[in-house]
Amino acid sequence: MNRERKVHSEAEHARIETEIGHILAGEEELMPSSGFVASVMDRVRQEAALPAPLPFPWLKAVPVILLASGVFGWGAVGWVHWGLPVFGQLELGLPALSSLTISPQHLSGDLARPVEQAGWVALALGISLLSWLLSRRLAGRGGLL
């Protein structure tokens, strides 16, 4: 009995979905208004009359981007190398936290190695690249590219 009811219900669902499909597929076509083409072409002509956008000056920009990445990378490494030990030597005011003094030897010893410095630079460059790719993607979705 239950099985019959279930089969009937599934068949009913299928019929209703078919009916919905017929309704959606049978929608009447809308005719664009008579001035539509003219109005689009006006906008297109306006746009065509504008001067072409200046191309992005990659030749000038690439060295600047590389230089800026190098400076930021170097800054990050310098901050890690010099900033953390200083931070570690800070004495916090609260008595319970004052024992959390970070030893400079623990932090700066490993981080000062050249391979890790290069790693930080690579990380900074990677983040720059990702943000560039993301901005291009967003601009592309927005139809700007």
């Binding site: 979905e17 919905i20 499909g21 929608e27 809308l30 664009p32 083409v37 689009v40 906008r43």
Partner: protein, 205 residues
């Protein structure tokens, strides 16, 4: 649209695109004339507001104009144009969403008690079309595209840039949501059949 006309349109599109890329702005008018109907109708299905649909279609044509050189010849121009239009409509609706009721609050289709069955059918159809607007965008877009302009699953999936399986699953979910909203549609169809038969008999007499 038959196959021969479709092939002619493809040839005309390619010829116009080449002229536009060579600097002839007027050639774009041919593209607008051929595609104004589909693009306005597609926009209408996204917003169900005629004025806004034409504005959205105009924006889509402008984007097509700007990006025409980005069309890769190996794909169909119509798929490229519909995908571009779908992106344009989606971003427009994100900026200014269509005011809709939640699906559960969408108007019920008129019941069998309605005196004029044709009017009841018309109201039911309108209610179903409006209910599509209340679906979440991820379900609404597959429905809009699948039931539009002779698209099949493959064409709609290409236009939305998603795998066919995902599109099928979303279509199925969308139909289920609509079915839950309109559990009595079948009865109305039955009533329409009876009405049509009666009209046929009257005509025969």
């Amino acid at each position: 649209m038959n196959a021969a006309a479709s092939a002619d349109n493809k040839q005309a599109d390619i010829a116009d695109i080449e002229r536009v890329l060579a600097g002839d702005v007027r050639a774009f008018e041919g593209i607008v004339r051929r595609w104004q109907g589909p693009l306005v109708n597609m926009a209408w299905r996204y917003c169900r507001d005629r004025g806004r649909a034409e504005e959205m279609a105009q924006e889509a044509f402008l984007r097509a104009w700007r990006g025409l050189r980005l069309w890769r010849r190996e794909g169909s121009f119509s798929t490229w144009l519909f995908a571009l239009a779908a992106n344009a409509y989606r971003s427009e609706l994100k900026r200014f969403p269509v005011e809709t009721l939640p699906l559960a609050a969408a108007p019920e289709p008129a019941g069998l008690a309605t005196q004029h069955i044709e009017l009841a059918a018309h109201l039911s159809h309108d209610a179903v079309h409006r209910a599509v607007l209340t679906l979440p965008l991820r379900y609404r877009e597959p429905v809009v595209l699948f039931y539009f302009h002779e698209m099949d699953v493959a064409a709609a999936a290409r236009t939305l840039g998603m795998p066919e399986g995902t599109l099928k699953a979303r279509l199925s979910r969308a139909r289920a949501l609509l079915r839950q909203r309109f559990p009595h549609l079948q009865e109305e169809q039955g009533a329409r059949k009876v009405f049509t038969m009666e009209k046929g008999k009257e005509a025969a007499q």
